[in-house]
């Protein structure tokens, strides 16, 4: 019954064009996981004039405590290293030295373009506001991305400490899943395009499992992220501790 009712209700509620604010809230909801999550993440990073670099990691996440743990499993040189976030504290663990180091919010994570502040649990609605026309009306365009009908809208940073002051979203009209996201610098240069290529449902919630992140500033740099083995089994509290990472090094 639930399987039938949800799509019906969704269809009914999405019949009229929703407000951008409404869509932002839906995007925020999409990020919020009610249960614990375990997943295997594979990242293939391609940089100009370099051979592709593969990284795999196991990702443990518990949103209710604003906690996650990333355990690097590949390449060999990174194996056993990890990142632990507990509320406002974010540490990097190095297996070789068996030390934890606080990660500054603008520090790069694992040599990637991601920085610690990308992992901060901050809602889109708190950070951005919809672009409006001179009459104060939200600007939303209806387009097609390939064959898929989408809403396109631009968000402008309403606080200064957002990494990208302008972002543009393309979300599916039928279920509001983001398919594409473009991020712009303060001076308006396109910096990054993100393509969410594949979604799956976990406990009736959509989760993207394949994403392509293209560096638009330095052409030729891109990262493909693939998520597999997603489990929502409740995780042991001991996972979100420093000793968990330390014990794995023994």
């Amino acid at each position: 019954m639930k399987r039938i009712m949800i799509p019906v209700l969704l269809t009914l509620s999405f019949a009229a064009q929703p407000s951008v604010l409404n869509m932002m809230q839906k995007l925020d909801d999409l990020q919020e996981m009610k249960s614990d999550i375990t997943a295997k993440v594979k990242m293939t990073q391609q940089k100009v004039d370099q051979s592709p670099k593969n990284m795999t990691m196991v990702y443990y996440r518990r949103d209710q405590d604003d906690a996650f743990l990333i355990l690097m499993t590949e390449p060999e040189v990174e194996k056993g290293n990890g990142y632990l976030k507990m509320a406002d504290n974010f540490w990097m663990y190095r297996r070789n030295t068996r030390t934890f180091q606080h990660v500054n919010r603008d520090e790069s994570i694992g040599g990637s373009d991601a920085s610690a502040d990308d992992f901060e649990k901050r809602k889109l609605v708190d950070l951005y506001k919809p672009e409006i026309d001179i009459k104060g009306k939200e600007l939303v365009a209806e387009e097609k991305l390939g064959d898929i009908p989408v809403y396109k809208f631009k968000l402008l940073g309403k606080v200064k400490d957002v990494k990208y002051p302008t972002v543009v979203y393309w979300v599916r009209k039928d279920n509001f899943l983001p398919l594409k996201e473009q991020s712009y610098s303060l001076s308006g240069t396109l910096m990054e395009s993100a393509y969410f290529l594949k979604y799956t449902t976990i406990n009736d919630r959509f989760v993207w499992i394949k994403g392509l992140f293209v560096d638009e500033f330095e052409k030729g740099n891109k990262s493909l992220v693939e998520i597999s083995g997603i489990s929502t089994t409740k995780l042991d509290d001991s996972i979100f501790t420093k000793s968990f990472l330390e014990n794995l090094s023994k």
Partner: protein, 565 residues
Amino acid sequence: MGLITRLSLRNLFRQKRRNLFLGAAIAFGMSILIVANAFSHGISDTLFNKMIVFIAGHMEVDVIENGRFRTPVMRDRAAYVSLITSNISGLIEIKDNLSTTCRGIGKGKSDLMVIVGVDINMNKLSEDERNYFSLIGGSYEAYHDRSVVNPIFITEGKAKSLGVTLNDQIRIRLQTVYGQSQTAMLTVVGLLKSKNAYMDFAVYLNPTDMKALMGLRPQETGALQLVLKKPKSAIEQANHLHDILTSNIAVIPSNIAGISPNWVMCLKQKHHASNTTLNAAWIPLDMAQTLHLTTGNVMSLTHAARFERSPIEWTLNVVKIYDNRTYKLPTGTILVLDQSFYKEYYANIPPIIPSSDLLWATLKQSPFKANLGNDFDILPRSSTTKEFTKRMKDLNNEKSGVAYIDVRTMYETASAVVKMEGVLNMVTMIAVLVLFFIILIGVINTLRMTIRERTREIGTTRAIGMQRRDVLMTFVLETFFLSVFSTLSGVIVGLLIIAGLGAITIQTDSFFSILLVDKHLHFVVNPITVIMNLILIVTIAVITAYFPARRAARISAAEALRHFE
């Protein structure tokens, strides 16, 4: 005494070959000492006066927000400049530290680089700075040309790594002081000669454009660097400045229609249950009643800002209504949780409230004042680079959003350089002492041989009336003259070696290049050190000579005359 001196000099030249070898050995030791000392002084001069002083000044005052110690922000530059100029003596210059690391893309090549905001005005620069910014292409005028997009000076080394030359453009991406992604185009208007490896990391842009790129407003700056007349007084001056810095409770005078006066103050969240609501506010009961507000309501107010003409609007979310009979805070005090408070406070610095205002007296009496946040906190002074680095890293743990002021000197930020110079000097000293130990054994041996050879002569001179003291002085003075001539020769040889080594051009891109100036080894000869070394060596030689000379003086004239070999 004149006769004794003449005798000593005559004796010195009597055994030319022996004394020549011994003198050459002393001169060699002295020249090594001169070269080694000049080299270690040269290294510290390169690192301190040609590198660190450009990076961090002799002293630096930073204001660090949100643990971003790499991108400090000083919101009211003028206030800090005034504080520094009225409290720091022997100040030559206050420089703005405007720099950030960014990724640059030139012609088909990209590289990391540091953009430094600096006013390159040849009329204002010191001799060292003029030498540092010597152009091999382009013009100084173009650096200030407002019609050129972000005009920069770049070293030949960096230009090569980016594949650019004069009038080419470089695309960069960086982060503003708020962490926002920023991009810009830089135009190469001047090519600089690479003086050292450090210089090759940097490109130079005028401070106005640099501020705009970093997201700083005209009244703001990154940090302030102080150049002092006496660099060695930096620690003392920094301690003094640190001691006079005092923080106050942070207050934003606000405006709410119908309620006067009213203030917004900072509530330290660590003392209370965490609340993640943005702009969460506690308001006093009487204000809630007047404005018909209750928890969950939204309220708006305006407040003046020090650098804004129009009032700033601020919307708060009421999360608690408090009873001021317990807190005894000034009437009309709104408490905003720290993270939200500090965001607003630093973004729009409020006007200064005079110390005579009644507000301060009321706050002093309030039992709740310990829960109120300060306008800034002051970091304790660090004594080593390790301590300083740890302190900066620890700022990540600070979640309240309060800004920290750090007063530092180059001796803490580069204590490794001080240590390195000390270690180099010590290694040099030990090596030279070993060398001199060997040489002094030679001195003793030579003297013993001389005394033995001259025993009958001692007897003769003693028989015709020379006193024991005069015999002693003859030998001591002979060694004195030998060591003085030798060490002076050593100084001359050392200076010649320095001139020779300094003339060699070294082409290297290795880490070693950081110690080079203009691709040459850099030596600094300190005359005081040279004189001290000279006195030390002569003293050691004279003391060493004293004991065999005393033995010679003690021989009786009859016994000396009987001596036969």
